[in-house]
Amino acid sequence: MEFLRPATWAEALAAKAGLPEAVPVQGGTDVMVEINFDVRRPPALLDLTRVGDLADWEVAADGRLRVGAGVTYARLIAELGDRLPGLAQAARTVGSPQIRNRGTVGGNLGAASPAGDSHPPLLATGAEIEVASAARGTRMIPATEFYRGVKRSALAPDELVRAFWAPPATGPQYFAKVGTRNAMVIAVCSFAVALHPGERRAGTGVGSAAPTPRRATAAEEFAAAELDWAGRAPLDPGLAARFGELAAAAAEPIDDVRGTAAYRRHAIAVLARRTLAWAWHDYRKEAAACA
């Protein structure tokens, strides 16, 4: 095995191009588990923790946040929790403090596990993933097109994740996750909702309940059409329940050690209904505070 230590982004891309089988490693919270357990013996590890600007984030010219692939969950919570509240909630449910000090959204994207906690909020906020290769330069992939299968993404073998781009929240955002305890769990299933009041619509993301993380498009269309965006009337329980049913219909879960397909489908309906209720409650409160 080789251990590649690029010091710059250009060096990292060159290393990946030279050895596409090299496995990129940031916090190591997925990759090192596989190596420790002899599940994976890649020809090389490509350590990205020395590529300094990967650990930076900035407000881009278009107003969106561009968050480097090396920004840890702990920093995301502390530094961006106000602007990316849904993603920060998801980050708080990742592992333990030790894991959040190392793990990154970039690593979550690279692993592309359907159970990754970052994915539902990235989908709900309409994030884009910035990837690059030495040969073809940079391209942007919408989160909706990034996930291609169980642990498969749209990344080409010579590409690396550089950053994700997400708009700062313009309305309430929530994430909820089902697990056996309140820490250290891989999601049985999860759900994210982001209200976009300016566009009078809600974004969604369903996690760990299909081969890939995915949006619940029918639930989004229903919310855009049926919620009282202008009047901000209290959320009708029937409407919230219907939103949940449509979210569950978007799921395509399996039976596995963490839960059954039937349980997951039911739980997605509950999580979607609850997170919408929390978000709508905040949306109404915002209006009251402004009045």
Binding site: F3, R5, T29, V33, S96, I99, N101
Partner: protein
């Protein structure tokens, strides 16, 4: 490969490191510091918690090569000479140690909590220790120890 790192203030030059090796293995088997424990090897138990550049991490999930040029502080580096760190003292006094296997990880993690948050609430203690498993104590004595260490640091006990 060779890895250069600083452990508990001392520069270490370690040769013959396998490229897939963890920082935990380097510390225990090559540097001779067995305080951090090897248990789950998947970041679930917290027994291998050490400071890496000032942040507590699971040493089993840090690739050895990632520690090149970094500062590591292990449980062996908390005490000043013969005097235990107040967190270690509190663990002894409160009976927070039974078999002792999880103790080094818990001590480092509790040490970090008390450094960052002077007087942590019970919720903050539980959250901070959520990634450290203990199968002996039932955690109540550990909670007592962290409360005592924090109170001593704040000068209220």
């Amino acid at each position: 490969m060779r890895v250069n790192l600083t452990v508990n203030g001392r520069p270490e030059e370690v040769d013959g490191v396998w490229e897939g090796e963890s920082l935990l293995y380097v510390l225990r088997e090559r540097v001779g510091l067995p305080g951090a424990k090897n248990a789950c090897e998947q970041g679930e138990c917290g027994s291998c918690t050490v400071y890496l550049d000032g942040l507590p991490v699971c040493a089993c999930l840090v690739a050895a090569g990632q520690a090149e040029g970094r500062q590591v502080r292990t449980v062996e580096g908390l005490a000043g000479g013969d005097r235990l760190d107040p967190v270690q003292e509190a663990f002894v006094e409160c009976g927070a140690v039974q078999c002792g296997f999880c103790t080094p990880g818990l001590v480092v993690q509790a040490h970090d909590l008390i450094e960052r948050v002077g007087a942590p609430s019970d919720e903050e203690i539980r959250e901070a220790l959520a990634g450290n498993l203990c199968r002996c104590t039932g955690y109540e004595k550990i909670m007592d120890a962290v409360r005592l260490a924090a109170a001593r640091k704040a000068g209220t006990a």
